[in-house]
């Protein structure tokens, strides 16, 4: 790994989690407001996350194990907001019924 590759990889890793956060935030905002722009923003953030994951896998000198971790994380990040949201909504619904 060259010094330049080290910095580029670190920035991509930071961007990877930032995109995941943006996707999670916009997904939740879209659930609340049901605004088309916000929903599209959520989709675009996840697309950005996939592109960054692709760049990390294809162009950085990370070892294979870390590339697999990034690819699997990318898939898990897709699921976290809807699964968490549904879980929270179910908890609140059950609470109201009680």
């Amino acid at each position: 790994m060259t010094p330049a590759q080290m910095l580029a990889t670190a920035l991509l890793l930071g961007a990877f989690v930032t995109a995941a956060g943006a996707y999670g935030l916009l997904y939740c905002a879209a659930q609340i407001s049901d605004h088309k722009m916000i929903r599209t923003g959520g989709h675009l953030s996840y697309m950005g996350l996939c592109l960054i994951a692709f760049a990390l896998v294809a162009f950085t000198p990370l070892h294979l194990g870390w590339k697999v971790l990034v690819a699997v994380s990318c898939a898990i990040y897709l699921m976290i907001p809807p699964v968490t949201w549904r879980y929270l909504a179910r908890l609140h619904r059950e609470e109201r019924i009680r």
Partner: protein, 466 residues
């Protein structure tokens, strides 16, 4: 109000004072990076840094104790067991902290003898407090554990949050004992020292703040206990599952076996996952309350805690946690950037939220609002963002030139000190440190002068009308 809650208020007040000391010594420490000869041989950088980072630990610890003494009697609807002892130990704790700070400022260090370790400085980062004071901290934490567990036993009652807290108290106290062993082998010493620092910060403190934020949500927005507790169990499982073995991400350059790099990298790479879950939870709660709560400062600081934890711990941490990056970034200003942001997001914002909640209830107000809290919220967060941004740029420059190109030699270190991005980064950190200090001053003013929401709203309307 219960006696325990009055004690909680005292701890929160002491915590705010220590927050100020930490900020003051932080700003002072940042000056040495600009003028390396500043106060040379009078009050050197290492002494200023000790007060800054130990102040960080103490202000947060006092904040946690204050929060728990505040919430505990409400939770169990009775006075806390052994409260008289806890009240005495509060004053002992404050006196000990004051003596230790005076020793750190005026004595600073001693010769390499047992006496120095007992009365001046133990010499281990974050737990420099001399041995007598460290024993005092053990006593305070022991009594605190007795207060919590004894009260639950006496009340013959526990709740989900309290049960999690009681389990957490065991490692919280036991891990601190790791501050005592004297090891001659540096690698061995650092190996175990990280158990204390990492497992306090990324395991037991995470659980502690999880319990405190759970109570905060119940009292702040009337969140359902069942919902909050269910979520707390999931969060605690995920945070501990990823955080404990994330320990390995500290094991660089200290002679630990190589396999720790992979273990640490793997588990700490998973740490952002539960943090994203927390963000979703925060947005869910904020959305269901339409971003409105009677106590607005507490509500916004609670939101800041969720986002700050994700960005400071998750984004900043993931950027540098994989071994191929960590090898170079370790111990640079890049790490300092992550440390500042993560501590602020995960813990600092949470303690301030509790401060406002306790303030409202203790003064009998129905909600809090006004202008000052908004200024302090903005200045503290802008100051912190500016500092971590400046440290990030300086740290990346350092990892690139001093570590990766220069090979971490003494010459590379000295050359680094003069590089424009590093120098400008240090100036920017100092400037934003001053912004942060202004935010702190306004926070203190607001805590002293805060008024109930109705009064603040009508005053604002009158001002707008005139």
């Amino acid at each position: 109000m219960y006696r325990s809650q009055r004690l909680g208020l005292k701890y929160l007040t002491a915590s705010t004072v220590m927050f100020g000391a930490m900020v003051a010594f932080g700003v002072l420490s940042s000056i040495y990076y600009i003028w390396p000869g500043f106060l040379l041989n009078v009050f050197n950088f290492n002494s200023a840094k000790i007060v800054h980072i130990d102040g960080l630990v103490i202000w947060l610890l006092m904040g946690f104790l204050g929060a728990i003494y505040w919430f505990l009697p409400q939770e169990l609807e009775r006075e806390v067991e052994g409260i008289a002892l806890a009240e005495i130990l509060f004053w002992v704790f404050c006196a000990a902290v004051a003596v230790v700070v005076v020793v750190f400022i005026f004595v600073q260090y001693g010769s390499a003898t047992e006496a120095s370790m007992w009365f001046i400085n133990q010499g281990r980062k974050y737990v420099e407090a001399p041995r007598w004071a460290a024993l005092g901290i053990v006593a305070v934490m022991g009594v605190f554990a007795y207060n919590v567990i004894g009260t639950a036993v006496k009340a013959r009652k526990s709740t989900g949050i309290l049960t999690v807290l009681m389990f957490d108290l065991v490692p919280l106290v036991v891990l601190y004992l790791d501050a005592f062993p004297e090891m001659r082998n540096m690698s061995e010493d650092l190996f175990w020292w990280w158990w204390l620092v990492h497992l306090w910060v990324e395991a037991t403190w995470e659980v502690l703040i999880g319990c405190i934020m759970a109570w905060t949500l119940i009292h702040l927005v009337g969140a359902s206990r069942r919902v909050v507790e269910s979520w707390l169990y999931v969060e605690v499982a995920l945070v501990l599952g990823t955080g404990i073995l994330g320990l390995g991400h500290h094991y660089f350059w200290i002679g630990t076996p190589r396999y720790w790099f992979a273990i640490g990298g793997f588990f700490s790479a998973l740490e952002p996952l539960p943090l994203l879950g927390m963000v979703v939870h925060a947005v869910y709660d904020a959305g269901s309350h339409h971003l409105r709560a009677a106590n607005r400062p507490a509500f916004y600081w609670t939101l800041a805690e969720a986002f700050g934890n994700f960005i400071g711990g998750g984004v900043w941490g993931f950027m540098m946690t994989l071994p191929q990056i960590n090898l170079y970034s370790h111990g640079t200003q890049w790490t300092a950037s992550h440390g500042h942001f993560a501590f602020w997001g995960a813990y600092g914002c949470g303690v301030i939220a509790v401060l406002y909640l306790a303030l409202e209830k203790s003064r009998g107000y129905e909600g809090l609002d006004g202008r000052a809290w908004k200024w302090s919220f903005a200045l503290l967060n802008i100051g912190m963002l500016g500092m971590v941004g400046a440290l990030l740029v300086a740290g990346m420059d350092q990892a690139f030139y001093e570590r990766a190109i220069g090979g971490s030699t003494w010459g590379a270190f000295l050359a680094m000190e003069g590089r424009p991005w590093f120098v400008e980064g240090m100036w920017a950190r100092f400037a934003f440190g001053l912004v942060f200090a202004c935010g702190y001053a306004i926070l203190v003013y607001d805590l002293l002068a805060a008024r109930p929401r109705e009064a603040a709203v009508s005053e604002s309307m009158a001002a707008a009308g005139s």
